[in-house]
């Protein structure tokens, strides 16, 4: 977490292999991807990492179900309808499978995006301000869902946010300032996060 312009998103993009780093090295699930080729990165996106962004980035022409199935189909697998429905049900959208993104609310679209990211059972889920575009109720339900994925199935999630309330739901919070890691907190409260943030803003 950190103030805007602190390099949160850039850091996330580098960690996820979307951006190349000029120095240092990047490892995901024990795999060095610093100089990975495009083919390797594509394979990585299919198996080891999932993405969720502030904008939902769903493919408009496809239904919720088809959007979720897309990563598996791109990987050459034929996902069964049940498998896809299960993932959608796990984000509470079992009854919205045939809707197009345009027909869903913001919170529902974001949950479809999470389902799409989770369908490949990635080692890491990268989330960039996943609740940034949502009202507080939807935000809370999305956040609760992410938390339960960690607690129930041990899913690793790397999330970027500038909202102390969101950050406080994490096990560990790292603070960025002007592109550098400057601080960390384990299992913090909202107040602790807000205070730390305020200190670095001064």
């Amino acid at each position: 977490m950190g103030p805007s312009g602190s390099g949160k998103s850039t850091m996330l993009h580098c960690a996820a292999g979307l951006e190349r780093v000029t120095s240092g090295e990047v490892r995901i699930a024990g795999q060095d991807i610093t100089r990975a080729s495009d083919t390797e990165l594509t394979r990585l996106r299919r198996t080891d990492v999932g993405f969720v962004f502030q904008s939902f980035n769903l493919i408009e022409s496809l239904s919720a179900e088809q959007n979720v199935a897309m990563p598996l189909r791109l990987a050459g697998r034929r996902p069964g309808r049940r498998q896809v429905r299960e993932v959608l049900a796990s984000v509470g959208l079992a009854d919205r499978a045939r809707h197009r993104p345009r027909e869903l609310s913001g919170g529902q679209q974001q949950r479809v995006a999470i389902a799409r990211a989770m369908v490949t059972r990635p080692s890491v889920l990268f989330a960039d301000e996943p609740t940034g575009a949502l009202d507080s109720r939807s935000a809370r339900s999305v956040l609760g869902m992410l938390r339960s994925m960690v607690d129930a199935s041990g899913q690793t999630i790397v999330m970027v946010t500038h909202d102390p309330a969101v950050a406080a739901s994490a096990d560990r919070v790292l603070f960025l300032h002007d592109g550098r890691l400057v601080d960390r907190l384990d299992r913090p409260t909202i107040r602790q996060v807000a205070e730390r943030l305020a200190r670095w803003e001064e």
């Binding site: 979307l18 594509t42 996106r45 904008s55 022409s61 791109l74 993104p101 679209q109 799409r116 490949t120």
Partner: protein, 634 residues
């Protein structure tokens, strides 16, 4: 991936409908030209026809065939150009979609397969429609050819079943090729671009655009130089290639020029609207270049061809004025040489009888191939005193001989003394080349000796009077024998005829292809507007009224049209310049015929077509209340 193709197809239909239309029209046009060409080439001369009539019929078909050949080449080029640019444009329009796919794990190969799958689908649909549309198109084209007299009456194009394979092959082939080129670049789209729309404007001028543009520009310039060096009939055919090469070069380099053209707009356009139009023009260079392409095509070919034909016409007229040394021209349907010569005041009478015969040339395999040509049978002495025939001594034109201008076929390098195989009055024989005539645009290319002059039939006489004789009184006396005109009137009349023929040639050659280009113009505007819903919505929530959005879009479109006009004008100028240099080299007459009124008409037409389409599509794109589009991200 085909399922995916089908679904995107359903969703982005304006873009794909545009692509299907271009394939359909392209296939129809090429198929129609090809069927007409094949039908003309295989047209049977009915047996038992008198030799002279059969020859006239063959001559008519041969003229039609060469026109149809150019027409086919032009149609094919225009179809490849328009389908290729349209498909490349549709791919570029979907950059964000493709980046999104990459983000969810699509490999480069998968993106390419998706695009090629789409092209196959669109190509197939377009081809099926095109093959059907090709039937009425063929009849219309044949009707035009007969109507303007480029093929003999009674010409009817025939359907051939193999054309289905050709049309399907070309249509689908062009669509897939167009996409293959574009997909190479599209598949390299980085997943991150789905998140950052700004990356999209980066580097429109790619290395391949530079290379392609420079290569074709160099090719075009080399062709102009080649035309100037070659001269002759070959040069005239080459000029079409100059237009083609320059069109391709300017299309590749268009993004550069759009940026240049946005300059005056930035200075001219005042206020926030002008500023927005200017910014959008520079932002959407790729889009602007794609809309400018068909405008450029239209102007390059119409102005280029009109300029070429008119330059040739003017040069021909000047050449005749310079070489003809007679006072009156008499035309009759029978020989009247003696009667004319007996009239008071007449100094010289040159009898000139048109003869249609065939000239054989080696087909490369040791066989002679005969082509129909027109010549004049003349009396050498009288002809030489009424026409400038250059340094050659025409008195050698006796017996089985012929005088030839090298302009007929510069590549044969004909020399005095060479035999020229001909078929005359149904008899095959060799004529000895007695004299080489100077290069000529106006013709005749062949002069035959009096021994080969037909004893009856229509002919004309160039009459020279004694110095100081009253021309009109002699003309009145000659009028009892045949139709008399002064040389000036005769030249005027020929020039008028030529102009009519030129207009007919333009209509037959370019009519359909240019209609196609106009539809492509509309198409490009519609496709370009298809991904601007959000952009317009953003502009509206920023505080612009719907009318202001339309006005700003119109301003942007006008600048794009201006770019197309400018580039097309340049390509046309290059072509006409090439011809002018060739003509100067051939007959020493320097004329250039810039088509100002035609250019003005094209300018007005392009502005109206693009302007109206643009206003309509912008209105349609802004119909949904802005806030509904801004609210959801997708």
């Amino acid at each position: 991936m085909l399922g995916m193709s089908l679904r995107t197809f359903r969703d982005r239909w304006p873009v794909f409908a545009g692509a299907v239309v271009t394939v359909c029209l392209g296939v129809a046009l090429v198929q129609s030209s090809l069927l007409n060409l094949v039908s003309a080439a295989t047209a049977r001369i009915p047996p038992g026809l008198p030799a002279a009539e059969a020859l006239a019929l063959r001559s008519g078909y041969e003229a039609g065939i060469s026109l149809l050949g150019i027409s086919l080449g032009l149609s094919t080029f225009v179809a490849i150009f328009i389908v290729g640019t349209t498909f490349a444009f549709t791919v570029a329009q979907r950059r964000r979609d493709l980046a999104l796919l990459r983000l969810t794990g699509a490999s480069r190969g998968q993106v390419r397969r998706l695009l090629v799958g789409e092209a196959l689908l669109l190509g197939t649909v377009g081809c099926l429609l095109g093959i059907l549309l090709g039937l009425p198109t063929m009849r219309v084209q044949a009707g035009m050819l007969v109507h303007f007299g480029f093929v003999p009456t009674g010409f009817g194009p025939q359907w051939r079943s193999w054309i289905i394979a050709v049309s399907a092959g070309t249509g689908i082939g062009i669509a897939v090729l167009g996409v293959l080129v574009a997909s190479r670049r599209a598949s390299r789209v980085r997943p991150l671009e789905a998140l950052r729309e700004s990356d999209r404007i980066a580097r429109v001028m790619t290395a391949s655009r530079w290379i392609l543009g420079m290569l074709f520009l160099a090719g075009g310039i080399a062709m102009v130089i080649l035309i100037a060096a070659l001269g002759g009939e070959a040069a005239l055919a080459l000029s079409v290639f100059v237009s083609m090469m320059l069109v391709v070069a300017f299309t590749a380099l268009a993004p550069l020029v759009v940026r240049l053209a946005s300059w005056p707009l930035g200075i001219l356009a005042r206020g926030p609207l002008g500023g927005l139009a200017h910014a959008n023009l520079r932002h959407g260079v790729r889009r602007s270049a794609s809309t400018a392409a068909p405008v450029m095509l239209l102007v390059a070919f119409v102005a280029g061809t009109a300029g070429t034909l008119d330059t040739l016409g003017k040069a021909t007229r000047q050449e005749v004025t310079r070489t003809l040394r007679a006072d009156l021209i008499v035309t009759t349907d029978r020989p009247v040489r003696g009667q004319l010569a007996a009239v008071d005041g007449v100094a010289t009478v040159s009898e000139e009888v048109p003869v249609t015969f065939e000239v054989g040339s080696d087909d490369g395999e040791g066989h002679l191939e005969y082509g129909v040509v027109d010549g004049l049978a003349v009396d050498p002495v009288a002809y030489a005193s009424t026409h400038d025939v250059g340094p050659g001594n025409l008195t050698a034109l006796r017996g089985d001989s012929v005088a030839v201008s090298p302009s007929y076929a510069p590549e044969l390098r004909l020399r005095v003394g060479d035999p020229l195989p001909v078929r005359l009055d149904g008899r095959t024989r060799d004529l000895r080349i007695a004299v080489l005539l100077p290069d000529t645009l106006a013709g005749p290319y062949f002069l035959l000796p009096p021994d080969l002059m037909p004893d009856s039939g229509p002919r004309r006489y160039a009459v020279r009077l004694f110095e100081g004789v009253d021309v009109s009184s002699v003309a009145a006396r000659l009028a009892r024998v045949g139709e008399v005109v002064t040389v000036d009137e005769w030249i005027d009349r020929n020039a008028d005829d030529q102009q009519h023929t030129n207009l007919d040639v333009m209509t037959v050659l370019l009519g359909m292809a240019m209609l196609y280009a106009v539809i492509a113009m509309v198409n490009a505007v519609v496709i370009a507007a298809s991904d601007r819903r959000r952009e317009y919505a953003t502009a509206r929530v920023t505080g612009l009224t719907r009318g202001q959005v339309v006005a700003s879009a119109l301003g942007e479109a006008s600048a794009v049209v201006a770019t197309g006009l400018l580039l097309g004008g340049l390509a046309a100028a290059g072509t006409v310049l090439g011809i002018a240099v060739a003509v100067e080299k051939m007959v020493g007459i320097a004329v250039v015929s810039p088509q100002w009124s035609l250019l003005a008409a094209l300018t007005a037409g392009a502005f109206v077509v693009v302007g109206v389409t643009n206003v309509l599509t912008t209105l349609a794109t802004t119909r949904t209340p802005a806030i509904r589009l801004i609210g959801t991200w997708e």
